[in-house]
Amino acid sequence: MQRRTVLVNTALALGVAVAALAALSLGTIPLHPVGVLRAFTTGEASQQMALILFELRLPRVMAGALTGAAFALAGCLMQTLARNRLATPGIIGIDNAATAFAVASITGVGIGLAPPAMALVGAATAAALAFALAGRTGTRGYPFIMAGVGIGAIAGAITQLMLTRVAIDAANAAYPWTVGSLNSREAMATHLLAGGLALCWLAALGIGRHLNVLRLSETVATGLGTHPGRLRLAGLGIAILLTGLAVAVAGPVGFVALLGPEMARSVSHPARVPLTASALAGAILMLLADLAGRMILAPLEVPVGIVTAIAGSPWLLWILLRQTPGRAL
C-alpha cells in the first residue's frame, strides 16, 4: 500500500517534470530540451535563450504547475468530504464567485482591493454563503452542493452584468478573469500561491489518515474515533484557500479540479485518498492544457481555461456515463 503510493507519486512527479520540460522547450521559438536541461543545471545559455527560458516561460510554467496542483488538491478534498465526485470548487460556484469579485475590482464596482485579493474574498464568501444556505453539509453534501450551484450561477450572472455595463477597455482587462488564463498573472499572486499551496498540502496530509476512513461513511468514521464535523471544516477551509489562491493567479480554470483527482484515483491504492497524486496530476493537466493553448493556433493563444473546457467536457461525460451512479468515491 505504502509502496504503491510512493511509486504512483514518483511516476506522476516525473510526469510533471516531462510536461514542464515540454512547456519550456516548445513555443514560437523552439528550444532544444537538452539545451534547456543544460541551462538549468549549469546556467549556460545564450542571452536570448535565457530571456525566453527564465523570464518568459519559466514563470508561466511555475504558475501553471502551481495552479493545477492547487485546483486538483482542492477538488480532491471537496470530493472526499462531500463523498461526491461532482463536488468540485468549480461546480459548486467557488470559482465563479472568486471571478465575480475579481471582475468587480477591475470594473470599479468593488472596493480598492487588487483582483487577486478580491478573488480570495470571493471564494470565502461563496463557501460561507453555501454553508449558511445549506445549514449543514448533509451526509453526502447534497444541500451544500445545491446551494453552491445556485450561488455559482448568480455569481456568473453578476459577472456578465458587470462586463456589459463597463467601458470596453475595462471589460477587456477583466476578460482573462472570466475564462481562465495564465497570460496575465501577477508575480505576487504566484508567490502567495506557492507558499499557500505548500502549507495547504501539509495540512491536507495531516488530515489524510482521517479522510481515508471518512470515505466509508460519516457514521463509520465516527465509530473509528474521528470527528467528521471538524474534519469537514478543516478540509473545506483548505480547499477554499487553495481555490482562492489559484483563481487569483489564473482565473477560473475549469475541470482540473474534477479530472486531476479522477486521474489520481484511477492509479492510486483504493484505501488512500490520493492527495499528493491529485496535486501532481492537476499540475500535469494544467501544463499540458496551457501548452496546447499556446501551440494549437500559434501565434494566437487560446486561454488555458478554454482548452480545459473543450478537452474536459467529453472526459467528464465519459466518466459520468461509464460509472454506476451512487458509487462511493
Partner: protein, 269 residues
Amino acid sequence: MTDANSANPTLATRNLRMAHDHHTVIEDLSLTLSPGRVTAIVGPNGCGKSTLLHGLARVHHPAGGSVLLDGGDIHRQPSREVARRLALLPQDKDAPQGLTVRDLVGFGRHPHQDWFRPPSPEDRAAVDSALGAARLEELAERPLDTLSGGQRQRAWIAMSMAQHTPLLLLDEPTTALDLGHQIEVFELIRQLAATGRTIAMVIHDLPSACRYADHLIAMKEGAIISAGTPGEVVTRALVRDLYGVECDLLEDPATGSPLLINMRRSTDP
C-alpha cells in the same frame, strides 16, 4: 469513573432523551447493557431503536440525559479513546471501488494507529485474527464489490473485530441478507460473544432476536416497555402490543428460546 481498561466496560444511559430536529424520539430512557451478553433491541418501525443505538455509539448528541461509558459521559471522552473500547457497525456504510477485504479490516485499526506510523505487528495480527474468525482468509485479497452480501457484511463485522473493543454495537446487521447469510452473520456474532464481548444489536426480526440474543429490550414509541431474557420478554400480549400481531408461543426444543408460530394480524386494533 471506573478503570477504563477494566475487562468489562459498561455502557449505560441515564434519563436519555434523543431528538431529531426538535422532535423527541426517545424520552427518559435508562438502561445498562449486560456485560458479556448479546442484547437485542427490538420494536416496530419508528420506535427509536436505531436512534438509541446511535445515541449509545455517540454518533448523535443526546437532547437530554447522558450516555455513560465506564461511568463517564461518553461525549466528554476523546473520541479515539472511546473507539478503542466501543465499536459500531452502522447500516450506512460504503467502500471505495476496488477496496479489498484486508484493506477494510485494516481500517478497524484506525483508533490504534498514529500519523504516518506503519502498521505494527500487533495491527497485522489483529487483522489476521479478525479475518480468521470471520472465515475470510481466502477472500482477504478480493475487492469488496466482488463479494456476496453475506460475505461483505462479514467483512464489515471483521473490521469491527479488528478494532479490538470489548463493546460492539450493530445496527441491523442482517438486513437485506437471505436466510443462509443471516445465520452466517448471527453465528459470527455468537462466536464474538463467546470471547466475552458485550454486544448490542438492533434487530428487525423478533424470531431471530429470540434465537440469538441473551437479552431482549423491547421498545415502543421511544420507551422501553419490557426487558429481560427472551423467555421473559416475549409474550403473546407483547407481540400484539408491539406489532399488532397475534401468535402462539412454543419453546424451541433445541435452545429453550421462545418460538413464534401461527402469526396473524390482530383483528381488534
